[in-house]
Symmetry: C2
Subunit: 477 residues, 2 copies
């Protein structure tokens, strides 16, 4: 899960959202409800979802586009889908932005000798080989930075805003917006570099990377995240009443676009195989960890949910297509390419669900569709009540990978997972397989499988997103 | 807290120990008991102990001997003691071993590309600039390593033994023994390097350093600790049935002995100032973090306990001497120098207490003295009952810094602190000030102050360690 803007939207939804409507749940035929209940109960009792997470992360390591790990991850996913008997398994080529990290060092020059644990934000320019060194200017917000104006000239701007720990991840958006916009804002004011308190909720000396983009025309200053203990150190040193001077070196740089791929496998429907329910996650990861939570967990959930649906007899009415997208973290090229490459069949996509918020436990679904869809979604929520994951939030939803499906009006769902500890690990070296709890992952997989079964097997389609609500958000246009 | 051997001894004590004896607690005069109770209650309600930890760690950073941080830490401690009104404040020169870390990289070469989070063990030789690369040989114990014998030749031995989380820290000894002895054992068998699962209880990608020593005549192979998630990765990769090849590079190297110092300050006694109760901790730290828990916490506890005793009127009968030792982590040169430099007054040291197990909460004291001391120690435990820290463990005790006081028979106590989470941070980059909980530190300080008051103000001395039990342990001879 990497998109700041999508998360911001979700934030609004979670706070704004979900006034109970008067729509009644539809009554699902027992032929639909029965298998969905069996999937729900059987998977929650034990599944192979964690095995797939282990397979992807151990076989590939970090999977940033353009790296051997990314290629290994794609190969591992293709091999996994083939071995598990999926149909039409393929890797569909996607050209993605590429960027490499390089050397990273940081230190407090004065008033006291401290090493700083920091890491470049994704997309940052590097520093000169000798680094940048300057006094820091600490601000708590972009507004405070703008108010300080000229005081930023020649300084290293230090944005110091804590992220709040919440179960719905709603603390992420506000903090991540600073990460995305801070570097350009600092550059325009004449700063020589930007440091930001990591967008995260832990207290480990492991900084959180994440995407940033330079605005057009803004001077490009090198930008890095400090681990949270290091940010707190700078804040404390600042209170000693003497200037705090910092030096940091980043060897990161952009590379020519790289070849990556969306990995696809299908469970072919028994009656209307041309109709598609898409289960999405992303195969790429940031480079610091192995992306076990972000988003090998989602890959494991989606693959295992579909595999368990495949094992049922009869199979669902429609085709279930697993899509493990390329390049969610630093470009969304995978989602964009999918929409282009599959333009002719998007009208036959009846629903798309994304799993990209870690491992769970599951809470429910966010959804975006026509209003008439609500009756079916309430029936799904009813089916999920025994799992505790019966929460529904209406409005724009899904995940960043599904963004480019919006113009086609495809009903989109996002698997809502408890994110209380997710941002302890998110985008850090600590996002590794040991953080996966197989029993929790099983519960999330059970919820996705049961919901997907209903969407793939119910007689009716969800109403599509109304034409007047299909406009791509400003941040991807 | 760095000494493997001392910890091993403590382990034995904690498991073996403390059969209730029939000795009755002595009755303390109310003139002794009253101030001790006041110290206990007042400090537990709030003290400046955490301020002193912050001052030392922020002003100095990491404090490995031979570094600017070590010198800054000594300067900060001297300034602090002077500013707080201690008497006879001085830094007593100590020459210590010196060693520097340098570059550190690690990676899995096959079967999959992974970066490895690792760090050199203190005292290790470096690798050639291109590193060492070999297949790993995984063992769970030194016995298993010996049994594999020739299989280690040309390999990188990987010692993979988890440390158990316990409240008394007793899981440390067994695991740390492997760290200390593993490199020589692997070298004798023809291995080209040694990797060990970090001796710690966390799941962060932050490896735990710690001391090792090459045995005389053993080939010196480079030795590093893997973070626990990385050790688990190697173990999982090993289960895939293909050889696991690893490369690592260490730039560490020994340096000429460095000048450091024991920092001393006193609260001069009102009646017999020539009699000394020593409150010890250590001012040095490993180089990865700022040693907030190990052992700036102990420094903060000792300094604040003595400062609060100084503030009482009248002052205690005897002199309370705070000693912040040099070089606990990688040589014990501070403890040794203290015993030499103060040889003439060791007979007048009536007790020594060390605080070197993090921040707490407090549990009680380990102790080593003549059997007649037990009555007074039981009286102290009774005084501490309301704090929950009334646990007494008899036998060799104190802390590593006090080792060289043993031949003089000085009654030694170790402040026992709850170590349940201590080994999550111990000897890692994560040992930083943000981990300090001031309220917990206050409770530990209260316990030390109350106990020290009794020792410094009671009419009688503790019985000294019997002459037949004053032999230095083998590992320091």
């Amino acid at each position: 899960m990497g998109s700041t803007h999508r998360r911001l939207t979700l934030l609004v939804l979670l706070f704004g959202a979900a006034v109970a409507s008067g729509v009644e749940p539809v009554v699902l035929p027992s032929s639909v409800r029965g298998p969905a209940e069996r999937l729900r109960d059987s998977i929650a009792g034990g599944s192979k979802a964690a095995d797939w997470v282990r397979e992807i992360t151990d076989a590939a390591g970090p999977r940033l586009p353009g790296t051997p790990g990314n290629r290994a991850g794609i190969a591992a996913a293709v091999a996994l889908l083939k071995a598990q008997g999926f149909a039409n398994v393929r890797a569909e080529k996607v050209m993605t932005p590429a960027w490499a990290r390089g050397v990273e060092t940081g230190e407090v020059v004065s008033p006291a000798p401290h090493a700083l644990a920091l890491t470049a934000l994704g997309g940052s320019v590097g520093t000169p080989p000798e680094g940048v060194e300057a006094e820091i200017l600490r601000v708590g917000s972009l507004e405070e930075l703008d108010a300080k104006g000229e005081a930023a000239r020649g300084k290293i701007v230090f944005i110091d805003r804590p992220m709040t720990r919440t179960s719905d991840g709603s603390g992420y958006g506000n903090a991540a917006r600073l990460r995305s916009s801070g570097p350009s804002r600092a550059g325009r004011l004449g700063a020589v570099g930007l440091l930001i308190r990591s967008v995260g909720t832990d207290n480990n000396r492991l900084p959180h990377t994440g995407a940033m983009r330079y605005e057009k025309g803004a001077p490009q200053v090198p930008a890095a995240a400090l681990s949270i203990p290091d940010a707190e150190l700078l804040t404390r040193l600042g209170r000693r009443g003497v200037p705090v001077r910092v030096r940091f070196t980043l060897g990161c740089h952009s590379l020519p676009d790289a070849e990556s791929a969306n990995v696809i496998g299908e469970v072919v429907g028994r009656e209307t195989p041309e109709e598609i329910v898409l289960l999405g996650a992303h195969i790429d990861s940031w480079d610091l960890g192995t992306g076990a939570l972000d988003d090998a967990a989602g890959c494991g959930i989606a693959v295992e949910a579909a595999r368990q649906m495949m094992a049922l007899s009869p199979r669902p009415r429609r085709t279930v297509r697993v899509v493990l997208f390329a390049n969610e973290e630093n470009g969304l090229a995978g989602g964009k390419a999918y929409a282009t490459d599959h333009a002719a069949e998007l009208e036959r996509h009846v629903a798309a669900i994304e799993a990209d918020l870690g491992q769970g436990p599951p809470l429910g679904f966010s959804w975006d569709a026509g209003p008439a869809a609500e009756g079916t979604l309430k029936a799904i929520a009813g089916l999920l009540a025994p799992t505790g994951a019966d929460y529904l939030i209406a409005g724009e939803a899904g995940g960043a990978d599904l963004t480019y499906l919006l113009p086609s009006g495809i009903p989109s769902l996002g698997l809502l997972l408890d994110a209380t500890t997710y941002f302890d690990y998110h985008h850090t070296a600590n996002d590794t397989f040991d953080k996966i709890d197989p029993r929790i992952l099983d519960r999330s997989t059970a919820v996705l499988a049961a919901a997907a079964w209903v969407l793939a097997d119910a007689p009716d389609h969800l109403e599509r997103i109304p034409p007047d609500k299909r406009k791509l958000p400003a941040w991807v246009q």
